[in-house]
């Protein structure tokens, strides 16, 4: 099993791969998306998307509404059909086994008057025992541990629908991190969240990235957040029109075209 295998692509990420090898917990090293296309109802939503997502890095997807960012996330989650390949690879370029994906969805539109509490929602996701029979001690402890990780242990008995945008996002993040994922997917996790909540949220995410060497894929409209926290930025418009470091993408003519061409510079 120690046999060295040359990574199949010519892509060079030597430094990252080295970190991956040193980090025993990191089975997944990178996700290679190649020529991914999605069509729905005769409409092409994504065309020929190719990008790499690395462990220990925050990759941000940016673009205007309808650019296909959420569609790409759902393709990576295996929830929409696509053409092309998505490969999960270890540092040795081998297929990574059993990759766990954590997902924090876009702002939720659920029935906010339901009495379902944070504990009910978390326990329902983490345990098979039907919540109406009550939550077992073991599950309760597991939920509290998860909530503590994102600093929302005090929300345990609050109704899920009564949470503020920021609180809800931290609860969803706590769930996405249990059990610990190899890839964390965050879809616009800060819409409707106040400035303080936003800062706390990204500090938590940044900490996770560094401590746990997780691959993080983020969809955001907040370019300021992206500039500060992203290691890699992918600019989309039905396809990838520019990718690279935040500086490279933000200074590109493509970026100018997408964000400022119509309304003029803000």
């Amino acid at each position: 099993m120690t046999q060295k295998i040359t990574p199949p692509t010519g892509h060079r990420h030597g430094a990252d791969d080295e970190v991956c090898r040193q980090n025993a917990a990191c089975k997944l090293c990178r996700i290679e998306v190649d020529g991914l296309s999605v069509a729905f109802g005769g409409q092409t939503l994504l065309k020929d998307v190719s990008l790499h997502i690395h462990c220990g890095e925050l990759t941000a997807l940016i673009g205007t509404n309808g650019a296909g960012k959420t569609t790409l996330l759902r393709a990576l989650l295996g929830q929409v059909e696509y053409k092309g390949t998505v490969r999960h690879l270890t540092s040795d370029g081998l297929p990574a086994a059993a990759v766990r994906t954590g997902y924090v969805p876009q702002q939720l539109e659920f029935d906010r008057s339901s009495p379902v509490t944070v504990m009910d929602f978390m326990a329902g996701a983490l345990s098979r025992r039907p919540v109406f029979l009550g939550v077992s001690k073991r599950t309760r402890a597991k939920v509290m541990e998860a909530l503590t990780r994102t600093h929302c242990e005090k929300l345990e008995n609050r109704a899920l629908g009564a949470l503020s945008g920021g609180e809800l996002q931290r609860v969803l993040l706590a769930l996405a991190l249990t059990p610990q994922p190899d890839l964390l997917i965050l879809d616009e996790p800060v819409s409707g969240v106040d400035q303080n909540g936003l800062e706390t949220f990204y500090q938590t995410v940044d900490e996770l990235k560094r401590k746990n060497h997780m691959a993080i894929l983020l969809v955001s409209h907040d370019l300021d957040v992206v500039q500060r926290y992203a290691d890699r930025v992918v600019l989309m418009q039905g396809r990838v029109i520019k990718q690279g470091s935040p500086e490279v993408v933000f200074d590109s003519p493509e970026f100018e075209q997408v964000f400022y061409a119509r309304g003029g510079r803000a």
């Binding site: 759902r74 997902y103 996701a125 919540v131 008995n157 997917i185």
Partner: protein, 277 residues
């Protein structure tokens, strides 16, 4: 069954329970109401009030199909049609860009009209009009057995479905990302509701069946502070209102189903000020 009757005579020596048809009606209430109290919670959380209303209406077409096919009992045709109809509505809802309430409305009107056209041919509708209001006093021992089986099967399925339903009611893609089969869960749930509705519709009536599903859960929401409380209280409210409505209908000589729903509504309005802000 005689032992059950004897026990009821011994434990509940009330005038209104003197008749066998009232004993049967009480047992039917005690089987139907927990079924609806249970399913109602997630029907409300998954915004399916309109859907279950449409299902109730489709019973008319179920009966019509049984009549056209010349079947002895229309129970089987109602059940089969109800399940197929529920699955079909769910399928179209998933595979169309139209809004859910438009789709449900189209299905609902179609089934009412189709049922009425077939059943009213030659002025024969009077024969079937009892299904509109329902008559719990005509429940037989065989019907009680069928209701008992329905309750047991539904409760067993509920143990498996409750958690996935909570997750999908918050966000389906999130539930899916955690290994919940969101679509399968939805189909199973809609079919369970279809079976519960069809098994009870002759006793509760097309016009009231949906209220029995929605009102206890809605009233429970006014008071409950957790999912467990929500579900338990919904079942309790449904059962208490069921029994109270039956007694009321006995003394006031009115439709039992309507009395039950009216008491449920009263409980809803009385508990409304207790809602947590």
């Amino acid at each position: 069954m005689n032992a059950v009757y004897a026990a009821m005579d011994a434990l509940l020596p009330f005038e209104w329970l003197g008749y066998t048809f009232m004993k049967n009606a009480l047992l039917a209430m005690l089987l139907i109401t927990p079924l609806f109290g249970m399913l109602g919670t997630m029907a409300v959380d998954n915004k399916m009030a309109f859907f279950s209303d449409a299902l109730g209406h489709s019973a008319l077409t179920g009966i019509a199909i049984g009549v056209v096919l010349g079947w002895q009992s229309q129970m089987a045709s109602m059940l089969i049609f109800g399940i197929v109809w529920a699955a079909l509505i769910t399928f179209v809802k998933h595979n169309s860009k139209m809004s859910a309430d438009t789709i449900i409305s189209v299905f609902s009107s179609t089934s009412i009209a189709l049922g009425l056209v077939v059943l009213s041919r030659g002025g024969a509708f009077a024969k079937y009009s009892s299904v509109l209001v329902g008559d719990v006093l005509s429940v037989t021992q065989g019907d009680l057995l069928a209701l008992l089986v329905t309750l047991i099967v539904t409760a067993a399925a509920w143990v498996l479905l409750f958690n996935p339903l909570i997750e999908t009611s918050v966000n389906a893609p999130l539930a899916q990302s955690r290994g919940v089969h969101a679509k399968a869960t939805e189909y199973c749930f809609t079919m369970l509701v279809a079976v519960a509705v069809m098994m009870s519709i002759r006793w509760v009536g097309v016009m009231l069946i949906n209220s029995l599903l929605i009102l206890p859960a809605a009233a429970s929401r006014n008071v409950a502070r957790s999912a467990a409380g929500y579900m338990r209280l919904s079942v309790l409210i449904a059962m208490v209102c069921g029994v109270a409505g039956l007694i009321l209908s006995y003394y006031m000589n009115t439709s039992a189903g309507a009395a039950v729903v009216l008491i449920c509504a009263a409980v809803y309005f009385v508990t409304l000020p207790l809602r947590r802000k």
